[in-house]
Symmetry: C2
Subunit: 348 residues, 2 copies
């Protein structure tokens, strides 16, 4: 039985990227061979100095992606720089050109075929030519409001529609998130920021697309609407106090609609003081499926997990731009031996 | 965009096999090219005569598997004859020898590597040589107490243990099931039938094996225990009345244990009058996951669904004996066009 090792470069060292590094370092089958970030205050440091428990890892942060990719020669790059296809496209292409696969948190990459068909086609072709795999994943999009809903539909003879929800109590999350969701603003300030695009979770239309693709549904439109969650009672966190009548956070709803029928409805709420946080999927089908994850999945811990857990399985993907609909189930497997499917300890 | 068609032979025409036929007939991408059963009262009939809504399908039931496999030349055989590897082994080998893949409800096939390593190895080798795929699947084992639990673990950095439950109100199910679970027996009669092996759900150790395999866990033992569910109040169904103090059904618990630690615990209860039917998965991990399917998945509808929904995806499997851990998410997709991943209707 062979123990596999995967050589990984981490590209992007913001909070999510560093979370990914922590999980990578916990996997005996990972060899971290490089770390890329353009933030000058990070370049030149050992990546371990940026971790919660600072320590020497022996990997120096560089802003020269091309050099790192060429010299470290990773099997795969775990990528967490931006949500947006236009921003990440050149980064992904450069990685592909260095014969490495990519697993990225970029939300628009999880399902780019409606918004960016040409960019998607280019990535797909180049990756196929180089025989590497490119995958956008994460908790949302990437799992809770798409892949999990599709997986649950596997027990259905027929599905009429799918509704999925995620309600997050943002008071337990980091300050940047609490600000990003508009907590503490007046309704007018909230609308202004939505107009500017500074209050927006990226990824709901992508999740709609993944579900529709899995079902074989073609839709006439994918709608998205962002509204404030106004709190009736005063709520707060360690950082922000929100009086009654002010904005506690954001609600974003995306729908896949065909001839007036809502085939897919995805409802995301992130606000301070959410009293019943959960993730749920409701399938109107034969049979119906009514699933809830009580308390919801903790996103800060889960996002790095799903990125790293994907790594052992991307070897099984066809080359090209893939999606979570191509991936087998992933798990936090600490041992990557191959060849033995018995789970019994050998006894002699 | 090409519409795929898959040529299917149904092997086994008991209640589950006929349920599979119904779902196959609902799929425009299925061409049902044969039906096999050894029951003389069925042989020679049009398979449509055995359906709930009897009708002419144009497929005649045969007991000559070899002839059907040779003449109909299916791409895949949907197989539902027996739960047991020793019974199905020659049937599977015969199908492989005719260059067809297999998707089977046989519970022991879903994870045979601990109980039947040699039979599994033989099937795996032959299938690889013939470049076909063999998959055991279903609702349980195959999804609820294994694949779904593994899929949920994908959001975890680390998992300490997994507990999954299925509670079924058997009063809503067919009489044969109600009898099979021992409803109406005295506790002594129940123990006797357990000893004889006539009261037993097949598949819990297989589900333990699948979870352990996904996690990379090796266990010292896989335990299984069958006990009666004694009802404190009188319960009943259309068929069976169970007085207080008698057996309402069965509880089966399987565990994967290492050094005294219960890494996997699977708890199945099927009894008349179950007041809170559900399917649940509880992951002790970072983060934890607490999932419940309220009401539980209706097994009679779901089992044929998951068999047929698997068909479009087996093309992506490596040849050989596979498991649900190799399968991407499956869905009740009615359209099997290839090549276009946009879900938008074309507009001109």
């Amino acid at each position: 039985m062979r123990l596999k090792t995967i050589k990984v470069v981490q590209y992007g060292l913001g909070p999510i990227g560093l979370g990914i590094v922590e999980v990578l370092l916990s996997r005996p089958w990972v060899q971290l061979v490089g770390a890329i970030d353009t933030d000058e205050s990070k370049v030149g440091k050992d990546v371990g100095q940026l971790l919660g428990n600072p320590r020497k890892i022996g990997v120096t942060i560089s802003d020269k992606a091309k050099d790192i990719l060429r010299d470290a020669s990773p099997d795969v790059v775990t990528h967490a720089t931006s949500s947006y296809m236009k921003t990440i496209q050149p980064q992904i292409i450069e990685i592909i050109e260095h014969d490495a696969s990519v697993v990225s948190t970029a939300e628009e990459l999880s399902y780019p075929f409606v918004k960016y068909p040409e960019l998607a086609r280019e990535i797909d072709e180049k990756a196929r030519n180089k025989k590497v795999k490119v995958l956008g994943t994460g908790v949302n999009p990437g799992f809770l409001l798409d892949t999990l809903a599709v997986a649950l539909s596997g027990v259905c003879q027929k599905v009429n529609s799918i509704r999925a929800e995620r309600v997050v109590d943002a008071s337990r999350r980091r300050l940047p998130l609490q600000t990003k969701i508009g907590a503490g603003l007046s309704p007018e300030e909230f609308e202004q920021k939505v107009g500017q695009g500074t209050i927006k979770h990226v990824g709901l239309p992508e999740s709609v697309g993944l579900i529709a693709l899995a079902m074989g549904w073609k839709v006439g439109e994918i709608q998205e609407r962002i509204t404030p969650v106004i709190t009736e009672r005063s709520v707060g966190s360690d950082y922000i106090k929100v009086p009654a009548g002010s904005v506690a956070g954001v609600r974003q709803v995306a729908k896949g609609i065909l001839a007036g029928e809502e085939l897919v409805v995805l409802d995301l709420r992130m606000y301070l003081g959410a009293q019943n946080p959960h993730d749920s999927v409701l399938i109107d089908g034969v049979p119906p499926v009514d699933m809830i994850i009580r308390g919801g999945v903790q996103g800060d811990q889960a996002t790095p997990a799903i990125i790293v857990n994907s790594l052992p399985k991307i070897g099984h993907l066809e080359p090209g731009l893939r999606t979570m609909l191509d991936m087998p189930p992933i798990a936090p497997c600490l041992n990557l031996t191959e060849g033995d499917r018995s789970v019994m300890l050998k006894t002699f």
